[in-house]
């Protein structure tokens, strides 16, 4: 399988703190990979490195073979990396539909002058964007609330809307940052289905940061484990569950009498 995203010895330092240290990691086309680790292990930092929020101190991040470590967030999104946020970041004053429409900006042909002139090309593009946005919302069962303010959605629906918004940028790799946070068990089961469905329907690679072991073990094909900014294990869910270092990282080490 060809590698979509490739990290090579990626390190980032914040002053004296090494948040991510020499991480090698990759995501292949169409793969569903999990990224787990205890609190403060550097999972979200790694996300922010991949999406250009932070610049790596050293090492290289390649997407589709191109170095993206020093590119801006918006340019990286333009290449096909979309993300959701750990604490929901919707455009709070916009309607559900407009949240999705805003994300179509990336592939917009008519820009500033088009919006001013409002010619035929502009109008047909606006029309098709709206239709596509509604179609996306329909797939995720949000079409009925399309004109509601996004703040009025339930927590679970807001998470779903974040996924829809990310999909509107037409990504090849979708990064989900703790999508199950704050959900009840029923919602989590539904979320797992939703993630798998999204991946298959849109032919995406998905990188999932998650605390909830049930979610991660249930859907990921491969899992990488971070601890103190280092990758300590990588493998299939079954391998990870047996890995001594992973167990130690989560549960503490067994004290053996000498």
């Amino acid at each position: 399988m060809n590698r979509l995203l490739e990290l090579e010895k990626v390190t980032v330092r914040f002053g004296g703190l090494v948040a991510v240290s020499e991480v090698d990691f990759h995501v292949a086309d169409g793969e569903l990979v999990g990224l787990i680790g205890p609190n403060g292990a550097g999972k979200t930092t790694l996300f922010n490195l991949i999406t250009g929020v932070y610049t790596p101190t050293s090492g290289s991040i390649r997407f589709l073979g191109q170095e993206v470590g020093h590119m801006s967030s918006s340019d990286i999104t333009g290449m096909g990396v979309a993300r959701t946020f750990q604490n929901i970041r919707l455009f709070s004053s916009l309607s559900v539909l407009d949240n999705v429409v805003a994300a179509f900006n990336l592939h917009l042909k008519s820009g500033f002058l088009g919006a001013l002139w409002r010619g035929n090309a502009f109008r047909s593009e606006e029309q098709s964007i709206r239709e596509e946005a509604v179609r996306l919302l329909e797939i995720f069962g949000l079409a009925e609330t399309a004109h509601a303010p996004c703040r009025s959605l339930s927590y679970g629906d807001q998470r779903r809307l974040e996924i829809v918004r990310a999909l509107a940028t037409r990504p090849r790799l979708l990064l989900l940052d703790e999508p199950a946070a704050g959900m009840n068990p029923t919602e989590k089961v539904e979320l797992m289905r939703l993630i798998q469905f999204t991946q298959e329907r849109f032919g995406l690679a998905v990188l999932l940061v998650e605390h909830d072991m049930k979610v991660v073990m249930g859907i990921c094909q491969r899992i990488a484990v971070l601890e103190y900014g280092r990758k300590i294990a990588e493998g299939t869910p079954a391998e990870i569950q047996r890995d001594k270092r992973v167990i130690a990282a989560y549960l503490g080490e067994e004290v053996t009498d000498a």
Binding site: S74, L90, S93, L116
Partner: protein
């Protein structure tokens, strides 16, 4: 149908009205008997509409707090006067091929020249300063506004602190409201498009906007340049209304006046801001009776309004041509 024809209708209406209100007593139409004082107020209201709706795209729609609008207004005023007053004779001669329209042609050129200069100034100020946010941006724009004013104050070629007199008074009600219609149209058209959703996205959450492939800096600078362009137009209209400009007319307080209109009308609501601009201009004149208590009454009104309606008069509703089920 839609926005463009609406805009054309508005411009046409502005010109028709300007035909009616020429201000010349000999005109047959009774409305033309409008006295100069009232006419001036109506023109000033139009200029304030341009100022407020153009600042609204920066402060309201894009969520950047700019306090330097008077500076761009000054650039437009001085820039336009440079063509009509300082180099007036030479410019008129150059446009003599237009025959009887030379005077009007020069006026249009001066308006556009002033606006273009202001837009350039907006670009120059925006590029470095829009990396800052919130209070920091406010302070930097305030500083730039003052710098622009002080530069004019110390440039003898434009009259220095004495100001510039003898600017031909060519601004009519029609011109002013045509520009106001143009400004309202441009801001509304920009915001009500997929492209324009980028401004609102940047305002609501810059980090999320960036993650959706929207370049916040480009949007902020665009908003700033558009805002400065129309502020420049307003300045040019103002210069050719009063016939006299001096640096004193473009102080920080003028910027605050415009900010007040935007906040009062409701940040991000084009209609609300336009109404607030007209309302405050009229109120300012009505309170003239109260003399030294004018500013007290003015401030009290603002305080009461901010307590009872912090989102502004029309904040959160009424975009100019929002569709059914547009933004809440």
């Amino acid at each position: 149908m839609g926005a463009r024809s609406g805009f054309l209708a508005a411009v046409l209406a502005a010109f028709v009205i300007s035909g009616l209100f020429t201000g010349h007593p000999e005109a047959a139409w009774p409305l033309a008997q409008l006295d100069d004082y009232l006419l001036n107020i109506l023109i000033l209201a139009g200029i304030n509409v341009v100022l407020a709706t153009s600042l609204n795209i920066v402060n309201g729609h894009t969520g950047q707090f700019s306090l330097g609008h008077a500076g761009f207004m000054a650039v437009g005023a001085y820039g336009s006067a440079a063509l009509t007053q300082i180099n007036g004779k030479a410019c008129l001669a150059a446009l003599s091929f237009l025959g009887p329209c030379a005077q009007g042609g020069l006026f249009v050129c001066a308006l556009l020249f002033g606006a273009a200069l202001a837009a350039l100034a907006g670009l120059a100020v925006g590029l470095p300063s829009l990396r800052l946010r919130g209070d920091y941006l406010a302070i930097v724009t305030l500083g730039f506004g003052e710098i622009i004013r002080v530069v004019f104050q110390n440039t003898e070629a434009v009259g220095g602190a004495r100001g510039l007199t003898g600017i031909p008074p060519q601004t009519t009600l029609g011109w002013t409201w045509a520009v106001a219609a143009l400004c309202i149209y441009c801001v509304s058209a920009l915001v009500n498009s997929t492209y324009g959703r980028g401004f609102l996205a940047v305002r609501d959450d810059e980090i999320a906007a960036e993650a959706m492939g929207i370049n916040p800096t480009r949007y902020k600078v665009t908003a700033f340049v558009v805002g400065a362009f129309f502020a420049g137009l307003a300045g040019a209209l103002y210069a050719h209304l009063i016939g006299y400009i001096s640096p004193e007319g473009f102080t920080f307080l003028k910027s605050v006046d415009v900010v007040v209109m935007v906040i009062l009308g409701g940040m991000g609501s084009t209609v609300g801001v336009a109404f607030a601009a007209v309302g405050l201009t009229v109120l300012n004149e009505l309170l003239r009776q109260a003399e030294q208590y004018r500013m007290v009454a003015f401030s009290l009104l603002l305080i009461v309004l901010m307590i009872t309606r912090p989102q502004g008069l029309l904040g959160g509703m009424g975009r100019f041509f929002s569709r059914k089920g547009g933004n809440p």
